[in-house]
Symmetry: C2
Subunit: 377 residues, 2 copies
């Protein structure tokens, strides 16, 4: 059989304050197009479907529309699990009905031991879980860490292995030694809770979720799909997409890239260049931008001016440092400024903008509250 | 055919701070038992399934278990709508899959015009909606009130009427002139948005939700089922249950009562009686209690003592007034107390208890914040 492996959709996620929902809707539709074009027999989603345990109404609606399209309209079997970002209870509400149309959504550990048999493969859908869930399930007080739990879980799964089938594990955890980015929530405790890759050796393929880079793990039989979109600046140079996995004659997989609605790019230029039509008309101004500003001078109202041209600025860095920066800092330390003045000067230093009247009021209120609190201690 | 009509489950609701979930689980199971015993062909739930748009995880789990039991295990067709307390988008997430097993859950106005044909009846499932939804649906700017909307909606529905079928409307609104309790959220604006009962005359039966008393409306062909549980002291003397509706030979209905996990009762007694084993061993101490206290004297630490015996006290009223109450009030007005003292005295007056040290700190902080805020104005 042939299946599509994706994960970490994080529907409803924001990127530096920008709502990603339109980007996510396009990615979801593109994944469906790939599934159709590649004529896959099933779509695997390895957890973190939503970004939050209580997603916004808009996120729920967008994701639900996608599920309807994939499963009810295009009739793709879906093999999905909950991740550490999902609320398993909220997610599972419709699951008993979903399974009637081959949409399997596992949210509880015990469901992982009932494999889905599909053509020449057995799929074990193991949702994200805490070690305590395994401790309770096995009634074994000695289970304290994820590797201890996984050892038991895998040995339990192996009892269900049919010898003439391929054995596919779908799961959501950190495999020890994998490469992280800035956008994943740390789930391992004190470095102890990474699952050693060798533990997964008995599966023909492990469809992983959790890490957002497709190359996070270098292991023949186990892959992270990565997220469909870039969720942090540290992922700027990653290629995003999905794996197409074939089970015959033996397991093989290839990566199919996704084109985002808005790319994430870095631009190095001066303020004058950035604001000159000749320059920005050549650029894709709609991209999520990291700007490396070459200027050293203070530019009044810089961010507002840039945002009028570039609507999706993630950050602006001063690639050559800042004029008078060091000198000023010394001045600051010498002068005996009051807290309001100190904050105003710092704000100007950092943003090249003056505080608005409203911002000044907020700062006054904040300082007042701090004073009151100090006095009461 | 024969169907069960219920509504206003408000799963996850609290009563004077007490979590009702266990009570609600029992009610839900009892409703299922009635459905089985009465051998109904379908169960109608006329809105306000949950108490909040984002119900707790426990509420979601309890309600979902009930849906699985009713629809997947016992195979009852379910005809349900969202009410003003539900989030239609969150609720509808599984709906396209639910309908595969005859669980129809309508959350959008346009769905109301596709009747469910079931045996000798047509069910029009009209969810709670705002007039603006009708304005947009009909593209008619003149629709400003619920009656205006309903006129159009009903005339649209009548186009779908099959003459040899019974016509059942399932809906969630306030019918003008119905009797309210304290536990419903007011949805009509300025008295204009009640639907005149006469407008419903073309339906053989209107299964209503929203008002919590089964006798809220006296109209031959339209009934509120009321909530399965008492949700306020004003409902103490109401009978709670469900309607069993028969469509043949002509529409008739009868009420089947529900027995709650804990009754709501009123007891009139003195503090000495209430705390004497001979007295309370005769009582059902687990009830939700309104206590009418006959004492007039101040009783130190009264609520704590009573709560140790009666775990579900909703309120304590002084049926004979309070000793020295009037005299004290005069004293208070005469004395020049500082705010802390004034609050402490008032608290003692009202509760017969002294402020704890922690409560005193909270009051000090509250007064301090108030001072700060006054000063800043």
């Amino acid at each position: 059989m042939r299946f599509l492996h994706t994960a970490d959709w994080h529907i409803g996620k924001k990127l530096h304050g920008y709502d990603l929902l339109e980007d996510q809707k396009k990615s979801m539709l593109d994944i469906l197009s790939i599934a159709k074009k590649e004529n896959v027999d099933a779509i695997v989603i390895a957890g973190d479907l939503y970004d939050r345990s209580v997603p916004s109404v808009e996120a729920v609606e967008a994701f639900n529309q996608q599920l309807i399209k994939m499963n009810l309209e295009e009739k793709f079997p879906l093999f999905a699990i909950s991740g550490n970002h999902d609320s398993s209870t909220r997610l599972e509400a419709g699951a008993p009905w979903f399974s009637q149309t081959e949409f399997y959504l596992n949210t509880r550990l015990e469901q992982a031991f009932v494999p889905i048999e599909w053509e020449d493969a057995q799929f074990f859908l193991l949702p994200y879980f805490e070690p305590i869930a395994a401790r309770l399930y096995f009634g074994d007080e000695s289970i304290r860490t994820l590797p201890q739990a996984m050892e038991k879980i895998i040995s339990e799964m192996k009892k269900k292995f049919l010898p003439d089938k391929k054995h596919i594990l779908v799961s959501h955890f950190f495999v020890a030694g994998s490469e992280k980015t800035d956008s994943e929530t740390k789930i391992e405790v004190g470095g102890l809770d990474g699952v050693p890759g060798g533990m997964l050796k008995d599966f023909d393929y492990v469809a992983l979720g959790h890490l957002h880079g497709k190359d996070a793990l270098h292991q023949e039989n186990a892959r992270y799909s990565g997220s469909p979109l870039k969720f942090s600046l540290s992922e700027m140079n990653q290629t995003k997409g999905v794996w197409i996995v074939e089970t015959q004659p033996s397991i093989c997989y290839r990566f199919v890239e996704l084109t985002p609605l808005h790319e994430m790019t870095e631009v190095t230029a001066s303020f004058n260049e950035l604001t000159s039509p000749a320059f920005y008309q050549e650029m894709n101004r709609e991209d999520y931008l990291q700007i490396q500003l070459t200027d050293r001078a203070i530019i009044p109202n810089m961010m507002n001016q840039l945002r009028q041209i570039y609507p999706r600025i993630l950050s602006v860095e001063r690639v050559n440092g800042r004029e008078e920066g060091t000198k000023r800092q010394i001045t600051l330390q010498k002068k005996n400024l009051n807290p309001q003045e100190l904050i105003a000067t710092f704000f100007e230093e950092m943003t090249d903008e003056k505080l608005t009247e409203r911002q000044k009021i907020w700062i006054d209120e904040g300082l007042q509250n701090l004073n009151d609190w100090e006095r009461k201690k």
